[in-house]
């Protein structure tokens, strides 16, 4: 099932060598600046950037549970928020896993996953990246 679905935004995230999901951003070597979503040119120096993972683990900066009619056939209710990524220091917007929305707290450590969730702009079911509470390694 999961294999046959496409991501809601192709190229938005990828698995790293450890098999963990990371958001894909860009990096300007001259300015030492990360960007997410990825930009082709650095807004500071206008030089081309390189594609680079910006991380998939971090902590919740803010969150909210949305209880109006959801867009893109997302679950009702669904939760979104900002996560501070440890690897790049970027504060990124994202969805939270629908099963954990009652547990969310500011500062909670989270990690990225992809799950089938809602539809895309063409009305097709698709995968979306979601943050879930990070599981400690000894619990595996």
């Amino acid at each position: 099932m999961t294999q046959s679905l496409a991501s809601v935004v192709p190229g938005l995230y990828a698995h790293n060598e450890q098999g963990e999901l990371e958001l894909t951003g860009s990096f300007c070597a001259a300015c030492q600046r990360y960007a997410y979503p990825r930009v082709e040119h650095c807004p500071e120096c206008l030089q081309p950037t390189e594609r680079k993972p910006v991380g998939g683990k971090g902590s919740i900066y803010s969150y909210t549970v949305i209880r109006t009619r959801p867009p893109f056939q997302l679950p009702e209710p669904y939760a979104v928020g900002y996560v501070d990524l440890a690897a790049s220091g970027l504060r990124v917007f994202g969805l939270f896993h629908p099963e954990v929305i009652e547990q969310l707290r500011i500062g909670m450590p989270v990690a990225l996953e992809e799950i089938p969730l809602g539809i895309n702009n063409d009305g097709q079911p698709c995968l979306r990246p979601v943050f879930t509470p990070a599981v400690k390694s000894d619990e595996h």
Partner: protein, 384 residues
């Protein structure tokens, strides 16, 4: 003070906001324009340029460049007309451009009209557009303010009750404004117990949609003398977001920056402001705007509204029109309606909601969402 050419408000026209089911965007816009021309007592042929603000007609009706239709219907064919789309600041951006045209010496009379028709079944929640990754990940406008509210509560101890007080206050003001859409008083309990939209924000803390139109006619000093206009534009500022990452959701840098620029240009400070119309799209937004505008210290916005300082009769009345929360928010008309309200107040023509002795007023608007920042912010300072 600056020696650049002065700009004056020659006329205003605002339609009641609400549901105008039988009327088109153009029809609403034309009536607002007509009201502004009559208010000023000028003929259409005297107008040198027109700006028309609209956001949703292309999406909802497949219409484009409606401005030329509007101005032609008002007897203003042949003149330059520009269509303006800047999200919620479309109207105030049109105003800003009209000011620039007069300051540049290009025209003596410039008309800015904003109109929106959005009370339709196909109208969903506003977002940043369906190609934005944030939109595809479920970002809707109430969420971006709920996320600010959560941080503001966490960092400054702002309470749900304080936020709800903004809605109660603005509705109390709206009872005094015959043009507001919702005028029945509401209680703190009603606001807090209305359905959650994006927690902690409830339905009564979110501005309702509306159909509506507003127009402001601006003129040069030469024409102002002829027409005996005494309300001048002390400063008009339009800025875009910084989009810096990370954004501080509890201290809105773009909001503070816009306020700092407008005070600098006007040669005035928060203490000189007699009344404010601000972009209370959600209750938390108004609280954050108090802080950005310097009406209180950063983080004190919740306690500021609680103290009554922002109510009619308080130290700096905010949204005596009822604000977006009670008037409703016909996106492209809002910015011009705020400026019209401030004009009315400075003319001492605001009736039961008059801020007595008002000499200097401020209209503040924000629009669009990008990278946890606003895309545009405008502030206009008018003075007698």
């Amino acid at each position: 003070m600056s020696t650049e050419p002065k700009v004056f408000v020659a006329g205003i026209g605002v339609l009641p906001f609400g549901k105008h089911v039988e009327r088109s965007v153009t029809s609403l816009a034309v009536e607002a324009g007509l009201l502004a021309l009559r208010d000023a007592g000028v003929a259409p042929r005297e107008i040198g340029m027109g700006f028309f603000a609209n956001v949703l007609a292309s999406r909802l009706f497949g219409d484009s460049t409606l401005g030329q239709n509007v101005f032609a219907s008002l007897g203003m064919n042949r003149i330059p007309v520009v269509n303006v789309e800047n999200a919620c600041t479309s109207g105030s951006s049109a105003f800003h451009l009209a000011c620039m045209a007069i300051r540049a010496g290009e025209c003596d009379l410039v008309l800015a009209i904003g109109a929106e028709k959005m009370c339709l079944p196909q109208m969903g929640l506003l977002s940043s557009g369906n190609t934005d990754p944030d939109t595809l990940l479920g970002l809707v406008t109430p969420a971006s303010f709920a996320l600010r509210a959560r941080r503001h509560m966490q960092e400054f101890g702002t309470t749900a009750q304080q936020m709800a007080q903004v809605a109660v206050k603005n509705r109390k003001h709206a009872a005094l404004n015959p043009q507001a859409q919702f005028r029945e008083p509401i209680t703190l309990e009603q606001v807090l117990n209305s359905p959650l939209i994006a927690d902690p924000l409830t339905r009564l803390q979110s501005c309702p949609i509306a159909d509506g139109a507003a127009a402001v006619l601006l003129c040069s000093e030469k024409v102002a003398k002829r027409l005996s206009c005494r309300i001048g534009v002390r400063a008009s500022i339009l800025v875009s977001g910084s989009y810096d990452n990370p954004q501080d959701l509890a201290r809105w840098e773009t909001d503070f920056r816009c306020a700092q620029q407008v005070y600098e240009k006007a040669g005035a400070g928060a203490a000189d402001v007699d009344l404010v119309e601000c972009h209370d799209a959600f209750t938390i937004a108004e609280i954050m705007h108090y802080e950005a505008l310097g009406l209180c210290a950063p983080g004190e916005g919740g306690r500021f509204v609680e103290s009554g300082a922002a109510a009619l009769g308080g130290t700096t009345p905010v949204n005596v029109s009822g604000g977006l929360l009670s008037r409703g928010h016909p996106v492209a008309a809002t910015g011009l309606a705020q400026i019209a309200e401030v004009t009315l107040q400075l003319r001492e023509q605001a009736g039961a909601r008059q801020v007595h002795g008002a000499k200097l007023g401020l209209a503040h608007c924000m629009g669009g969402d990008r990278a946890a920042d606003t895309k545009s912010a405008t502030i206009v300072i008018l003075a007698t």
